[in-house]
Subunit: 339 residues, 2 copies
C-alpha cells in the first residue's frame, strides 16, 4: 500500500446501531461520534414502542453525546399499529421508521411480530405514508439457514407492498444479495464483520464469543459476495454496523450474548478494507451516499478524514462502570481517523 | 414411558476417550468406571508416540482408577513409523492402534501428519500386522465442510489398504455414514452429543461453550441420520464418547477449547435416548457388541444396570484442584446407573 493515503468522507452514517441505555449508553454513544448520524435500534428493555418513549430516548442519546452534532434517526419497535399511532410517530421529530423483529429471534426481541398477516393494514398505511420498514430477517430454523428461509417473507412483503421501503437489515448471505436485484423496493444494510469473517472465525478454531452475533457469520462464499457488493458500492446496499455492545461479563461466559461491538473502529477498518481492495473511491457511497439517496436523508454536516496511520484498538472500552470488548481488541489497524 | 424399565449391559465400552494426565486424569478416570473399558486417546502434551510412554500412561490410568477392573485400549499418535517401531508397539501390553490426526486440527494435534503419502509403507505394514488406524477425519477447510471434505481421504485409504481396519472417529455427518456402506474395512465411532445436538445448540441461541467440540455439531439432517444408525445398531458403528474434559476456566473464556465432557452421564443418557425411541434392545450392540466383533475384543467382565430412575447431573465435577463442567450440568436425566 502506498504510504500517505487518506480519504475524507462527508457525513458518514451508521444505518444500524445499538446504543442501549443508562450507563452503557453513556459509554458507547460518544464512540460513534465520528459518524454524522445513525439509525438507532429500539430493542431496549422494554422495547421503544411509542413516540414519547422514543423522543425521551433520543434526548438521552443527545445528552450522552454531550452536544456533539449527530443525526439521530430513531426507530420504533414494530407491532400492528393503528393509523393514529402511525401519524403520531410520523409527526415526532427524529422518527425514521419501524423495526420489525420476528418474535424472540435476537436480543430483547421477545415482543416481536409472529404473524405478518396481522399487520397487513399497518403495512398498507406505512407504504402510503412513506414510512420505512426495517426488518431483522431470520426464521426460527437451523442457524445457518435462518436468513435464507426468511427470504420468502421478504419476497412476499416486497410483492405485496410495492411502494413500501423495506430494508433487509444486516444481510449475511449471497442469496439475500440476489433478492435485492429482484425488487426495487428492497434495500439492505451490511455490517463490518460480515464483510470480513465467516463461521470459521467464530467456531472454526477456538470459540470466539466477541465475534458471535445474529445473524451468525456464514460461509466464505457469502462473505465474499457481500464484500464485493460493498466494494463496488452496490446502489441499494448501505453500511450499518449493527454494533451491539454487551457487558464483558455477558460475552465471556456460558451463554454468551449475540453482538459484535465495532462502532469505534468501523470507519478505520472500512477504510483499510476498501484501500486494500483499491476501492476507496466507493467508500463514500457505501457509508453515506446510498443511504442519503435511498431515504432522502440530510444529515448534519460533518466530515471525517481517515488516513493510513495505525490505530491501536483498546483491549476494552471502560467507563461508567461498564466494560465492552471491541472487535480487534488489542490489535492494530493500519488506518485511523485523522484528528 | 413405562415406569420400572431397566437394562443390563455387558461390558459397555467407550471406543474414544480422552483421560488427559496429572490431576485432570485423577479427576476424570474414575468417572468412566461404569464402562468395562475404553480406547484411550494419545493427545497428551507431548503426545504419546512411543510404547514406553504409552505403557507408563496406561499405568497412571490404572492408578487413577484405583484398581477398578477396566480394559485400557491404548493408542499411539500416528507418525510415519518404521517396521521396528510397529513391532515394538504391537508387542506392548494394552496396545490397540494408531490415532491419526491431520496436523493441527484439534486439541494437542500440532504434531499430526500433513501428507499421508509419506506414511504409505507404515500403512502397508499396519494392514499386514492387523493394527487398526483410528482417524480424526477433518480437512482444514470451512468448519461445516471439514468432515465432508475429508471423506475423499477415507475413500483413498479404504481403497488403497483394503485389509487395513480404518475407524472414522466421531463422525458427524450423514455423508460419512453413507461412506461406511461403501467399504467393509471402514468402521466408525459416534459421540453422545452428535446423536442429540446440532449447531443450533452450540450457536443458535446464546453461545454454549460446553457444547462446542471438534468436529463441530452439524445440521439437523446429519444428527437425525446418526441417531437412526445408532438406534438401529448399525453393525459398523460404535459408541465412542470423545469425552474431552477441559478445565472450566478454559471453556468459559474467550477462545474456549473444543470438547464436551460426557463420560459420567453417557450410559444413562444413552439408555434414556434408546428407551425414548423404543430401541433399548439395540443398545448392547451399540455400546459393546459391535466393537467386540469388529476388533475381536475381550474386555474385562463387567455388567452395568441402567434404570429409569432420575440422575441429577452435577453442575461441575471437582477434585484435585480441577473443575470440569459436564454436558447437562445441573439438569436431571430420567435414567441412571443402578447402584
Amino acid at each position: 500500500m502506498m504510504a500517505g493515503m487518506e480519504i475524507t468522507l462527508n457525513a458518514p452514517l451508521d444505518m444500524h446501531l445499538h446504543l442501549r441505555d443508562g450507563d452503557m449508553l453513556k459509554l458507547v454513544a460518544p464512540l460513534s461520534s465520528d459518524f454524522a448520524g445513525a439509525v438507532i435500534m429500539p430493542n431496549l428493555v422494554p422495547p421503544v414502542t411509542d413516540p414519547g418513549a422514543m423522543l425521551a430516548y433520543s434526548e438521552r442519546i443527545a445528552a450522552a453525546m454531550s452536544g456533539e452534532p449527530f443525526s439521530r434517526y430513531m426507530t420504533l419497535f414494530f407491532t400492528a399499529q393503528t393509523e393514529q399511532q402511525l401519524r403520531m410517530a410520523a409527526e415526532t421529530p427524529g422518527f425514521f421508521g419501524y423495526k420489525l423483529y420476528p418474535a424472540g429471534i435476537t436480543t430483547n426481541s421477545e415482543g416481536g411480530v409472529a404473524n405478518l398477516a396481522e399487520a397487513d393494514s399497518t403495512l398498507n398505511m406505512m407504504q402510503d405514508m412513506g414510512i420505512p420498514l426495517l426488518v431483522h430477517g431470520e426464521s426460527h430454523g437451523f442457524v445457518m439457514d435462518r436468513e435464507a428461509e426468511f427470504l420468502a417473507v421478504y419476497r412476499n412483503l416486497a410483492t405485496r407492498y410495492p411502494r413500501l421501503r423495506i430494508c433487509m437489515e444486516h444481510i449475511t448471505t449471497a442469496a439475500a444479495l440476489q433478492l435485492l436485484e429482484e425488487f426495487e423496493n428492497l434495500c439492505a444494510t451490511v455490517t463490518l464483520q460480515h464483510l470480513i469473517i465467516t463461521l470459521d472465525d467464530v467456531a472454526g478454531g477456538a470459540l470466539q464469543p466477541h465475534l458471535f452475533c445474529k445473524p451468525i457469520a456464514k460461509r466464505p462464499g457469502d462473505r465474499d459476495a457481500l464484500l464485493q457488493a460493498a466494494l463496488s458500492a452496490h446502489p441499494r446496499l448501505m453500511f450499518g454496523s449493527d454494533s451491539a455492545p454487551h457487558p464483558r461479563c455477558r460475552k465471556e461466559a456460558c451463554g454468551c450474548a449475540a453482538g459484535v461491538f465495532t462502532a469505534p473502529l468501523a470507519l478505520p477498518r472500512l477504510a483499510e478494507l476498501f484501500a486494500t481492495h483499491h476501492a476507496l473511491d466507493n467508500l463514500q457511497d457505501f457509508v453515506s451516499g446510498n443511504a442519503c439517496r435511498i431515504y432522502g436523508l440530510n444529515p448534519v454536516q460533518k466530515q471525517v478524514t481517515l488516513h493510513d496511520t495505525p490505530m491501536q484498538v483498546p483491549t476494552a472500552y471502560r467507563s461508567y462502570g461498564q466494560q465492552v470488548v471491541p472487535m480487534y481488541a488489542g490489535e492494530q489497524l493500519s488506518w485511523s481517523v485523522k484528528r
